[in-house]
């Protein structure tokens, strides 16, 4: 019963990852693709959580925290690159 519900939710998660990959390939502008990558990270977090319930293991919780942090930093860096043209700015004398 419980494994059946978990497999159903993994199936829903797979469909949503397919939809996000469609937006990642087709997306007309660069912010669309960044947004799709961010959503992919969030869905991966949910997938790792479901697998840790499925396997009854507590070893994957660091991975959840790590994917969250890395996805956030990558999104911020890409958005700053689109907005300003550089990721890390240098102080110039004006």
């Amino acid at each position: 019963m419980i494994n059946f519900i978990l497999i159903c939710s993994l199936l829903f998660l797979t469909f949503s990852i397919l939809a996000i990959s469609y937006r990642l390939v087709v997306g007309p502008s660069a912010p669309d693709r960044i947004q799709a990558l961010d959503a992919l990270g969030v869905n991966l977090i949910a997938g790792v959580a479901i697998f840790s319930v499925f396997l009854r293991s507590v070893a994957f919780f660091e991975i959840i925290l790590l994917i969250g942090i890395l996805s956030f930093i990558g999104t911020i860096a890409l958005a700053k690159f689109i907005e300003r043209g550089v990721v890390i700015e240098h102080k110039r004398s004006e």
Binding site: V42, I50, I69, A79
Partner: protein, 123 residues
């Protein structure tokens, strides 16, 4: 056995609801017309879905194995804090790099402010 089943079932149903929310927000990502409405669907729906899933996992391990995981708690807190923030940063970058709004949109309040600022700062 008979008393054990509902305590397992509640977190699993929470996880299922969360994945349904993720799925609905992904449908919104396909169907909506421009980047701002897609961000609207994605940031709210996907954040809520992943929060339901993580809270379900947290409650599952709390009830099943009496394991209070501070790492998972920190992960829930961090995702809750950063997902709307990254959506804000993406839409801000999209507006400032002149991504078009959808054809159906009527009002653009930010346009006059941005033009005024361009004249003031010269960029």
């Amino acid at each position: 056995m008979n008393t054990n089943v509902p305590s397992e079932l509640l977190p699993v149903v929470l996880i299922f609801i969360g994945t349904i929310f993720c799925f609905l927000s992904a449908i919104g990502l396909i169907r909506l017309p421009d980047v701002y409405t897609r961000s609207h669907a994605l940031s709210k729906g996907s954040t809520m879905g992943v929060l339901f899933t993580l809270i379900g996992t947290f409650v599952f391990f709390l009830l099943e194995e009496d394991y209070f995981s501070i790492r998972l708690f920190l992960g829930i807190f961090f995702v809750f804090l950063t997902a709307p923030l990254s959506a804000h940063v993406i839409t801000r970058a999209a507006y400032r790099s002149n991504v078009e709004l959808a054809k159906e949109s009527i009002q653009d309040d930010l346009k006059e402010i941005m033009i005024h600022r361009k004249e003031k700062h010269g960029r």
